[in-house]
Assembly symmetry: C2
Homo-oligomer: 376 residues x 2
């Protein structure tokens, strides 16, 4: 019996934490899930074969970057993003909005869209809700995102305006959408302001979308504010749709997100940290350049089943780092991605077993208490 | 029935071309063979798993680099080079001589050895034949090289002195050697001077070593001179020992070497070219940055069975290059290594079938005539 596309089946709920399955044309996504980021149609320094071996089931790519280079038409001509980068499991593209607001040099925001200057060559471009949908339809990811406006999280007046614009743009995205094999997610905005978040969540939840995202967090607010906003929003987002916390990716943020009902996460953190020699362990981050690892015959983390940990010593990886060998970035990226992917699959198993509260508090206490000692 | 270590069994000979098997403690090397170079205990940007998939059976690493960083004692402490870098097939280390003469900033050559300044931090060091052997014994490769002096190939007086010194140093290396699981190869020097090359070949051949190398070529002499020297030397090197042409790695040089009786080659060329977007094809090198490949749905080379060609289009690899994604270097390295490894296994099959003359002339005519058209 075929399962209809984009249904979300909850398998277990423990307090607010959920274990589910989201069905897409490129396969099922078991949640909670962490999605590594392939900014320019590649997860940096990692092949799709290596990425698959980490257990990753969902990969994000950036509409802003792909629109500028190599262009959405070229990706479409090559058969779409899955075929172009040879990742045949589910993919997600963002709307391009966040990068326009964070990367592009000059911009003009008006009710119709955003005009911006490419960070690559200074050329001028324009995104509208309609063009964002059209570009994402050419890219062909399974999950697409509505074009939204990301405001400074502490500027209430700006967030008031941005929420209204985001809602108007969401309606235009829904009208512009033509592909039935893509799930368009709406995005809740509202900065750190509970009333705005509630209003935004209610509005976005009312539009019968296959999934919902929380945007505008992990951009400068405190952890307390982030947790509070997730709680406020998730009171209004329906239980039978996946909830995606955008751009969040530290181990402790993932666990805290799952505790509050989040199903999907993405972040460049595991690959960015890897290129700076920093690796996740259950005791906290460690810097593999540390001289203390020069003679260390153990893996990055004992018990980790990633290719890097199954194969190499800390001493070897430290040598690669000191000798400026790029393979170090590949190996630590593989480890860091698998760490987060595995953390989410362990969380899922714990939820299914009704033991996630214990799992989460155990993880958070180990991760916090020893991280200062280990990282140097 | 066990085959004794370091015997070389010739399976077929066609004119001067040979197909053989060299037995080592880490397995058999079928010749002719191309060895990719893992300068700092890693073939740049490629994991051992990816390297094994290219079909590579022998990997070279550099004594000079490993001595400076991370140090031979550390490698020994980690179980030796095979264990350190997790390459469990045969390995070869050079003597450090070539890098001292080409990379190190200041040097003093005396009858006892060479004093040099590290290219990394300017610190002073000294290699002697004895210390080169001791370092290579700590590294633990299957094939080790005698410490030799590399002279300007066109300076006859210098080559006269360097040949004498190389022979004296070879005898000291043989006396210093203690490990029985390592095959020490002697090196023939003599620049572009047939008399010196003959004398050196006769001397080195007389010492009952398990294999012989030709050094001091591919360092500025003409192709005609290189071919002539190989022919001159191979008249005197015994047939029942492998012959290794050091530092030679272009496809046409490999075929021309096999035609003249060479069994083993090594070179950084496939990985160095890869990091400059240049890929081997049977029609010659192509530059994958070329705008003509922007919409190209074909692989780097049709018919190639490497991971990059089985998986990705030229359009995608060009996108990675343009977007400065490091994955491009990994993919083109895999392709270029597999190209040379496969060229040697095809050569072997042709020799076994008695068809290498045709194979070689076909390859050389295709490679030469079209390379100018394809590379841009």
């Amino acid at each position: 019996m075929d399962t209809p596309l984009f249904t979300f089946n909850l398998k277990a709920v423990e307090n607010n934490a959920r274990a589910g399955v989201f069905h897409t044309a490129h396969g099922d996504i078991e949640t909670p899930v962490f999605a590594p980021v392939g900014t320019q149609a590649t997860v940096k320094t990692v092949t799709p074969a290596q990425l698959e071996e980490t257990g990753a089931s969902l990969v994000l790519s950036n509409t802003y970057h792909l629109y500028l280079r190599p262009g959405a038409d070229l990706v479409a001509e090559m058969g779409g993003l899955h075929e172009f980068m040879q990742w045949h499991k589910p993919m997600l593209t963002d709307s391009g909005g966040f990068q326009v607001f964070s990367l592009a040099a000059i911009r003009k925001i008006d009710p119709d869209g955003v005009t911006f200057k490419s960070h690559i060559d200074g050329s001028m471009h324009r995104f509208t809700p309609e063009s964002s949908v059209q570009i994402q339809e050419k890219l062909g990811a399974d999950i697409t995102m509505a074009f939204d406006e990301c405001a400074d999280p502490h500027d209430e007046a700006y967030n008031r305006a941005a929420v209204d614009r985001t809602h108007a743009w969401l309606e235009r995205c829904m009208r512009a959408k033509t592909r039935r094999d893509q799930a368009l997610f709406g995005i809740v905005q509202g900065g750190v302001f509970p009333d705005l978040r509630r209003e935004s969540a209610r509005k976005v939840a009312s539009m019968d979308l296959p999934g919902h995202a929380i945007g505008g967090l992990s951009v400068g607010e405190s952890k307390t504010e982030m947790h509070k906003m997730i709680e406020v929003v998730n009171e209004f987002l329906p239980e039978n749709k996946p909830r995606y916390l955008m751009g969040v990716g530290s181990p402790e943020d993932l666990i805290n997100g799952v505790l509050r009902g989040i199903d999907i996460f993405d972040c460049v953190l595991p690959t960015r940290l890897a290129r700076h020699q920093s690796a996740f362990t259950h005791a906290g981050r460690i810097n593999l350049m540390n001289a203390g690892f020069a003679h260390d015959k153990g893996p990055i983390e004992e018990g980790c089943e990633c290719y890097a940990c199954r194969t190499f010593t800390r001493a070897y990886i430290r040598h690669l780092i000191v000798a400026k060998e790029l393979l170090a970035g590949t190996l630590v990226s593989i480890h860091n991605i698998q760490f987060l992917v595995h953390l989410m699959s362990e969380s899922r198993q714990a939820i299914l077993a009704g033991q996630f509260s214990d799992f989460a508090s155990d993880f958070l206490s180990r991760y916090k208490t020893t991280s200062k000692k280990v990282s140097a």
